[in-house]
């Protein structure tokens, strides 16, 4: 399933994204991967091969860059990604408990779980005095709890559908 915010994967469009980066930048592999993900929401396997060829590196090298970075993904993102900070400053104010509670909330609600996807660990959002911190659809939340997270997901979903 493709989320409406991102266009369907299309090789020609990807090539058009990559070409100017390769022409202008030294060391363009990571920039190309990031550009493809920014456009399509993820980096399909086909794109890795395409980028390798365009940058004149081996497929293995490009794949190695792709797998090194936690941000890069090979499947489309959830509609409203929710990520909870897993680092120390948020642990000190109940971050671990929030993770458990959020997992339980998603366990009880298949629709919520489907919308928000797996809470992949993220280490520090730079909101360390107002933890627990969360990123809901790219928007930073301070003093997060399950109720506020759910409300933000609902709002983000409504905004997304209105677009």
């Amino acid at each position: 399933m493709n989320h409406s915010r991102y266009p369907e994967w299309q090789a020609e469009a990807a090539e058009a994204l990559i070409a100017p980066i390769v022409a202008a930048e030294p060391g363009p592999v990571l920039l190309c991967l990031q550009a493809v993900q920014a456009h399509f929401g993820y980096v399909p396997g086909d794109a890795v091969g395409m980028i390798a060829k365009a940058c004149n590196v081996s497929r293995a090298d490009a794949h190695g860059v792709f797998t090194f970075y936690a941000d890069l993904r090979d499947t489309p993102p959830p509609a409203v990604p929710v990520r909870l900070c897993a680092a120390e400053a948020c642990q000190a104010v109940g971050g671990r408990e929030l993770k458990t509670d959020w997992a339980a909330a998603c366990g009880d609600d298949a629709v919520l779980a489907g919308l928000t996807g797996v809470d992949e660990p993220i280490f520090c959002l730079g909101n360390c005095a107002l933890g627990p911190a969360a990123l809901v659809d790219g928007e930073l939340m301070g003093c997060a709890d399950v109720a506020r997270l759910k409300a933000a997901v609902t709002q983000a979903q409504a905004t997304g559908e209105a677009l």
Binding site: L31, E88, A89, Q91, A92, F123, G126, N127, E139, G142
Partner: protein
């Protein structure tokens, strides 16, 4: 007519500042989006002045609903009085952060009205070599954690000739780079983010001064993807600076040509290590490089490269504006000038405290921070990020300097201070330190790549009550191998939180508990 100020900082936005600003505009009020003052427990902190640069009074923790019900007045329980007279701010000594929270971050006129560019103008009237000397004389040391003297690094780069990119012909264009490390991955630190969101021109001015000092023509800011607001604000500032002639060719009418671009990280902590950052900037896996060669001699694409943290570079404009001597008069021993401390975790008054080196950890946590947010007693404080030691409450009288902290077995790191109350389980924190290293190790050297995995396993055995004495001895031995044998600070310093937890809080490692993972 009154002017209202509502921060656009991500921390303020995370507590509803956008809705507050909209509500004020909905009432027909004039709203300026300033940076955050750094008193984060008050966010959104709404301020009001009677003129653009007039004295400002404030209201803490405002909500859009409150604004919709009526404009706040001096009788409100959230009224905090004249903002700059609030003790937390009045007791600071702001150099790097002098404009943050005061100005509209992307208004060039506001920047100039508050002393912006005076450091660069002074620098351009001096030779590059004299600028390097001023930075050396100021005593400024790297704020990323290692504390290397900035002037010595700059001198090394200044002494090199520009070089073509590695692999290009010797006749290709030659460059030197200024690379700013804005990969602020340490939990409990947010000063780079707030500076880039609250006064991005200051960072650009500092980079431009560095370029003049060492003869660099290109600047890159490696900014982590977890900071979308900082990316947007700094990018806007770069565009504006080019329009203003603050970046580009012939900067401020001088012969200096210099431009800056942002490179966004991709979710890797180890890319905050300078050689891993270079690999990432060159588009590869963020694998640590062995040194030498030093980046100052062969850095980005093989060219001489200054790599400094955001706060190091952002210190430079005020040093050039106010004088190296005045800066060096602050602090103690070889820790001179100001440090931007960040109070985080379980703390009542979290935020930014910029003050001279030498203040004690207790003064920061208790006097500024007001103790824990939960109201329970402090049990542990982690200084210097995920690779820093945990100190118990009775060790907090240590002075915050590079030297005193090293003696106490800690480090200042990037200035982050994370407070935990008595509910913390230190064996769990030790396990997390190892587990974080498992997640984030670049994998290049064995002590870090394998050691961290073995560390998690061994701590799990200790926590499960299996041969506690034997496994603790094994864990200490493993920490020794990681400390001595790792290529960079990731593996080399991960033992800091682990060993400090064992040494300072042995009781948490004694009673068998079920590992929670």
């Amino acid at each position: 007519m009154s002017i209202w100020f509502v921060p656009r900082d991500a921390a303020a936005r995370s507590m509803g500042a956008d809705a507050v600003a909209l509500a004020l505009e909905g009432r027909g009020e004039t709203v300026i989006r300033n940076g955050s003052r750094g008193m984060l427990w008050m966010e959104p902190l709404v301020e009001r002045a009677e003129s653009r640069h007039g004295a400002r009074v404030g209201w803490a923790n405002m909500t859009a609903a409150q604004i919709e019900a009526g404009l706040p007045d001096e009788q409100s329980t959230q009224y905090v009085g004249v903002v700059e007279e609030i003790d937390y701010l009045a007791r600071q000594n702001r150099w790097i952060y002098e404009r943050v929270g005061v100005t509209d971050p992307i208004d060039p006129e506001d920047y100039l009205a508050h002393g912006g560019l005076s450091g660069l103008k002074n620098a351009l009237a001096m030779s590059g070599s004299d600028v390097v000397q001023a930075v050396t004389d100021s005593g400024l040391r790297g704020r990323g954690g290692a504390g290397f003297p900035a002037g010595i690094k700059w001198r090394t780069v200044a002494d090199q000739s520009p070089a073509p990119h590695a692999g290009e012909s010797p006749s290709a264009a030659a460059h030197k780079y200024i690379c700013v490390n804005a990969d602020e991955g340490d939990s409990g630190t947010f000063a780079d983010r707030m500076l880039m969101e609250g006064d991005p021109f200051c960072l650009l001015e500092g980079m431009t001064i560095a370029a003049h000092a060492v003869g660099a023509d290109r600047g890159l800011v490696y900014l982590r993807s977890e900071y979308p607001d900082a990316i947007a604000t700094l990018q806007a500032a770069i565009w504006i600076a080019r329009e203003q002639g603050w970046l580009g060719e012939g900067i401020l009418g001088s012969e200096l040509n210099f431009d800056v671009e942002i490179r966004v990280g991709a979710g890797s902590y180890v890319c905050g290590e300078e050689t891993a950052m270079l690999e990432s900037l060159e588009g590869r896996r963020g694998m640590v490089r062995a040194k030498p060669p030093l980046p100052a001699i062969k850095g980005l694409f093989g060219t001489p490269t200054v790599i400094n943290n955001v706060l190091t570079i952002a210190s430079v404009p005020s040093i050039l504006a106010r004088g190296a001597e005045a800066y060096a008069a602050l602090g103690q021993e070889r820790s001179l000038g100001t440090q931007v401390f960040q109070l985080a975790g379980n703390i009542a008054h979290g935020g930014i405290v910029e003050t001279a080196f030498g203040i004690t950890a207790r003064a920061l946590v208790a006097d500024f921070g007001g103790g824990t947010r939960s109201g329970r007693p402090i049990r542990a404080v982690q200084l210097g990020g995920p690779l820093g030691a945990y100190l118990p409450d009775d060790k907090l009288d240590v002075a915050m300097t590079y030297e005193a902290l090293a003696e106490a077995g800690g480090m200042i790191g990037h200035g982050g201070i994370v407070v935990f109350d008595e509910t913390v389980n230190m064996a769990e924190q030790a396990r997390f330190a190892m587990d974080f290293c498992v997640e984030e190790s670049c994998g290049k050297c064995t002590p870090c790549r394998i050691g961290a995995v073995r560390g998690v396993e061994t701590i799990d055995k200790i926590r499960a009550g299996q041969d506690v004495a034997g496994n603790t001895a094994l864990l200490r031995d493993l920490c020794d191998v990681m400390t001595q044998g790792s290529l960079c600070a990731m593996g080399g310093l991960t033992p800091n939180p682990v060993l400090s937890a064992i040494n300072q809080f042995p009781e948490d490692f004694q009673s068998p508990v079920i590992a929670t993972g």
